[in-house]
């Protein structure tokens, strides 16, 4: 229990830091926020000033930050410059699509990467192992956006099996998920392979065999469990990258999700949206890592003793 508590407490400064970064954004971008908001509406200078007062932009910086933070605690992420809707609403309404893609991509990564890594580690330098290593080597090297195009070229245009653009069905999820998840599958394969080879050399495997454990049992009850730890950790650490990769993939496949929304908001300098996205993404990253820590702690209780560095 105290392990959970400690991890939670350690996350708080980071969360606050993320909000500070998000907050500072509006002041780093050149241009006056009030003007940007009223852009194109032919507002008079007095109206702009009044809006500035309303937005609290005349107050000292730390005061503004407190207001910002207070708003955050209420779930208010600001108002979009473009649509004048609540940012929270805009972002949240788009999250299901992005989460679906991210989740499926991670699934692809695990379903392909873990078994491949296991088999490769079980029979190092065998044919399967060499294939796996080759595939993973390439897999890390192909950029996912290029892979997406290639997959579309082959499976959508030439073979016509799958749609090239999102059509709202689950089959529209396949190509994006594969192109995004493939690279992580490659990473997982290498990770797990290395770990499996190491674990088989360890003393406790010898002890397990000495007790009469069959090789199958050794694999499932001992090696697999201990090898899965770095995989779980990696997923957590790469979650942020998977999420942003999903954003780019959404753009390619024409999916309406947080990613494409964020991309257009950045180019149109819709700062409140970007702020909100930073907070949301940062928060979910921290949350995911917390969950990962807990899972790893459950698998390997030794980590509960060591608090994360710093």
């Amino acid at each position: 229990m105290s392990f959970v508590l400690r991890r939670l407490l350690a996350s708080i400064p980071v969360i606050i830091g993320v909000t500070i970064v998000a907050f500072l954004l509006i002041h780093l971008v050149p241009g006056d926020p009030a003007q940007a908001m009223l852009f194109g509406s032919n507002a008079s200078p007095e109206q702009i000033d009044e809006l500035r007062n309303q937005l609290g932009l005349t107050q000292p910086l730390w005061q503004q930050y407190f207001d910002f933070f207070g708003q955050l605690l209420h779930g208010d992420l600001g108002t979009s410059y473009v649509t004048h809707n609540s940012v929270a609403y805009e972002l949240v309404s788009r999250t299901p699509s992005t989460l679906a893609l991210t989740g499926t991509a991670m699934l692809v990564a695990v379903v392909i990467g873990v078994p491949l890594g296991l088999v490769a580690g079980l029979r190092p330098n065998s044919v399967v192992d060499n294939i796996a290593r080759f595939v993973s080597f390439i897999g890390v090297a192909i950029p996912y956006f290029f892979l997406a195009l290639l997959l579309v070229l082959v499976f959508a245009f030439h073979l016509n099996w799958l749609p090239a653009i999102d059509n709202g069905t689950s089959s529209g999820l396949i190509l994006p998920a594969i192109s995004l998840g493939w690279g992580y599958a490659a990473i997982l394969t290498r990770l797990i392979r290395g770990r499996v080879i190491d674990e088989y050399r360890s003393d406790y495997v010898r002890s397990a065999r000495g007790r009469g454990c069959s090789e199958l049992r050794v694999l499932l009850a001992h090696v697999f469990r201990n090898s899965s730890i770095p995989a779980v950790t990696m997923i957590g650490l790469q979650f942020g990258n998977i999420l942003t990769g999903a954003a780019v993939t959404e753009v390619i496949f024409g999916r309406a999700g947080v990613g494409s929304f964020l991309a257009t908001s950045i180019t149109s300098k819709n700062i409140p949206v970007v702020q909100g996205a930073i907070v949301l993404i940062g928060l979910s990253y921290i949350l995911i890592n917390l969950v990962v820590d807990l899972v790893v702690g459950a698998i390997d209780p030794r980590t509960q003793l060591a608090t994360a560095s710093a």
Binding site: S2, G210, R211, R225, D300, P301, R302
Partner: protein, 695 residues
């Protein structure tokens, strides 16, 4: 204290029928550089109720012999010849599935390091249950738990039911080993293979575990194969001994017989290179020159010949055959040691030191270093979320003097604080309170300039020589680093010093340009020694100088230390867990327990008549290579586990394990008080001279 090792002292045991019979076993490990034969023609057998000890140094093949019974060989290893017969079945040709039915069932194994030999991510209970349910299919979890608890009580695990839910890292070393033994015994095996089962444990725990194994053997009627490098363990717990060298058994005999009259020159060399209590400190230890052979593609020869003083031409060209010299006593040596050589000096391997090579025993009498009530406390994180940090009492109120020219030994088990004391002596740790004085001056808290001058007087040899030498530097740089750090001496002067020291520590001159990791453990210790001496310190603190080395190499280093002491007029503070080593090496011994100094006095006195119950228990726990004392040692060791240094017991810290403890011991902490001359003890009920006679 005299050793009367005769057949009368050995208890007569009725052994059962032969459980295991190994004949001409040969094991190979395929490596790309050639084929390594760690086991090359080993023959012996084990009967029910018998403990067969296999003793040898590293590279002798003893571990591989043990592992080959259950075919737990490393990758690339296989049995290529000979037979292993168990209960009428031939194990070498058995199918893997049949072998698995035997593993953990009829034949079980216990390994050296229980921390790595247990799966760290699964509870003890789950591993126990697994071991049981594999061989008793259809057992429910509840039944398996019950059996697990039963066996945990059998191995005297405290609070067995709670242990089932613990993970390996939550247990102490001794408890982990008990868990491993429990796992091995779940299905009541007929044969137990124990590979260095106590090497990783503290001395007091070691004795408990070994005694436990003896007891279990008697109860269950098992045969035990005990693989170890420690002759003391063999003497105390093996019924029959096989001495291995270079993949072969060079001598085999009942224990008492072997210790009474070893015949093979290697056995003789082993015995004479150990610092036992009887050894006259006027003698240098027998050191066996050279290193054990690489077991790759060896021609027919006696494998010990290259290192044997008595070797002749036939030793180098023919494989010696086994010769029986007494019932059950065989050896394979062309020129065995004669049975009676008491006065034939040239048949002995040790040398008597000339007077000028001997340091003045006891020193000059002048106090050089004073430890004045030093304490070291560490603040460590509290695992519960909001409590303040806890305090680890590493060293508490230790006061002693180091006399110029003497060798002071500090002995203690893990958690005793002895290493911390050593580090405080040289300034690597600053005492939380109290002072370290050199020549009267307080050197406990110094500036860097002060530290530099201090290093000219006190130096440390680290416990882990591999980590203490920067792998990127060559030997010459390593040795001159202290000079370079203080900008002393010109380049040519430093070079000359390096050569002088390399010669002094017995390294070849070519060593200067090589990197530290290219050397063996013993040679690394020599490098560390040379580095420690380059500033001509007056005091050298040696932290476990030989514990990681093989017995024959240990002797080399110890001899070197003594000769350097005479040559450079050094004062030593030797920190070790090995009592017999300190008995041989040091003039005075200080005994530490849980951060406190509990006894301090002349080595001979402390050994012969320990005053503190802990010291007595420690001495009783030390495996002594003298089978005659086996009977006497029963139940004389220490019980229980070392308490925690974070929350030490009130009053006398030893009281939780002390058979003499009373209420007074809980309320009042005993002070270190002189009794009978220079012998001090911190105990309310110190043992008297007759009370301390070996029980």
């Amino acid at each position: 204290m005299t050793a009367t090792s005769s057949a009368a002292a050995t208890p007569t045991t009725q052994y059962g029928e032969t459980v295991l019979s190994i004949r001409d076993l040969q094991v190979e490990i395929r490596t790309p550089n050639g084929v390594v034969r760690p086991v090359d023609g080993v023959t012996f057998s084990v009967r029910a109720g018998e403990t067969v000890g296999i003793v040898g140094e590293s590279g002798s093949g003893k571990t591989m012999t043990g592992m080959s019974v259950l075919q737990l060989l490393p990758a690339g290893g296989s049995i290529v010849g000979g037979s292993i017969e168990f209960d009428g079945h031939e194990l070498t040709t058995m199918s893997l599935s049949a072998l698995r039915r035997l593993r953990g069932n009829d034949i079980a194994a216990v390994f050296q390091d229980p921390m790595t030999s247990l799966n760290p991510t699964r509870t003890i209970g789950s591993q126990l249950r697994e071991a049981y349910r594999i061989h008793r299919p259809g057992t429910s979890i509840a039944e398996a738990n019950r059996r697990a608890e039963e066996v945990l009580s059998l191995v005297r695990m405290p609070r067995p039911k709670e242990r089932l839910k613990d993970y390996p890292h939550q247990l102490s070393g001794g408890m982990r080993q008990r868990a491993m033994i429990a796992i091995a015994l779940l299905c009541e095996p007929r044969l137990l293979i124990a590979d260095e089962p106590t090497t990783a444990l503290d001395v007091s725990i070691q004795a408990q575990i070994l005694e436990l194994l003896d007891d279990l053997k008697a109860r269950l009627g098992m045969g035990i194969i005990l693989v170890t490098h420690d002759l003391g363990v063999i003497a105390g717990h093996a019924d029959k001994v096989a001495v291995m060298y270079g993949g072969r058994i060079v001598e085999e005999a009942p224990t008492a017989e072997l210790f009474a009259s070893p015949r093979h020159r290697y056995t003789q060399a082993l015995f004479e290179s150990m610092p036992t209590m009887e050894l006259d400190s006027g003698r240098a230890l027998a050191s066996i020159p050279g290193l054990p052979p690489q077991l790759i593609d060896l021609p027919p020869m006696c494998r010990f010949a290259p290192r044997c003083r008595f070797a002749s031409e036939d030793c180098r060209t023919e494989n010696p055959e086994a010769v029986e010299v007494a019932p059950g006593h065989t050896h394979s040596c062309f020129h065995p040691k004669p049975t009676d050589i008491a006065d034939a000096e040239d048949e002995h391997l040790y040398t008597v030191l000339a007077a000028e090579d001997l340091p003045t025993r006891g020193g000059t009498g002048r106090t050089l270093v004073t430890l004045d009530a030093i304490e070291k406390q560490y603040r460590i994180k509290n695992p519960s979320a909001f409590k303040p940090r806890r305090i680890l009492h590493a060293v508490s109120q230790v006061s002693l003097d180091v006399i110029e020219g003497e060798t002071l030994g500090i002995v203690g088990e893990s958690g005793s604080g002895k290493t911390t004391v050593g580090r405080m002596l040289v300034g690597l740790e600053t005492p939380t309170s109290g002072a370290v004085r050199f020549d009267g001056r307080d050197i406990s808290r110094l500036s860097r300039a002060g530290q530099q001058s201090r290093s000219g007087n006190l130096q440390l040899m680290f416990q882990d020589s591999a980590a203490a030498l920067d792998p990127r530097m060559n030997v010459a740089d390593l040795i001159t680093e202290p000079l370079a750090a203080q900008h002393l001496g010109s380049r040519s002067e430093r070079r000359a010093k390096v050569m002088e020291l390399i010669d002094a520590v017995g390294l070849p001159r070519t060593a200067a340009q090589r990197r530290a990791y290219e050397f063996s453990g013993g040679q690394r210790q020599r490098i560390a020694m040379a580095r420690a001496l380059v500033l001509r310190p007056k005091v050298v603190v040696a932290d476990e100088p030989v514990s990681a080395l093989d017995v024959s190499i240990q002797a080399q280093i110890l001899n070197l230390m003594r000769s350097l002491q005479a040559k450079y007029s050094l004062t030593y503070v030797v920190i070790s867990h090995d009592l017999s080593l300190l008995r041989y090496l040091s003039d005075r011994i200080g005994v530490m327990y849980l951060g406190k100094l509990v006894e301090l006095g002349p080595s001979a006195g402390v050994y012969a008549a320990p005053r503190h119950p802990y010291t007595a228990g420690l001495i009783a726990s030390v495996p002594i290579p003298d089978p005659g004392l086996r009977e006497h040692k029963q139940k004389a060791g220490l019980t229980g586990e070392i308490a925690s240094a974070i929350d030490p017991p009130s009053g006398c810290r030893f009281r939780t394990r002390c058979p003499l403890a009373t209420d007074l011991c809980a309320t009042e902490e005993p002070a270190l008080v002189l009794r009978d001359g220079p012998h001090a003890v911190a105990c309310h009920y110190p043992l008297t001279t007759d009370g301390a006679a070996r029980e």
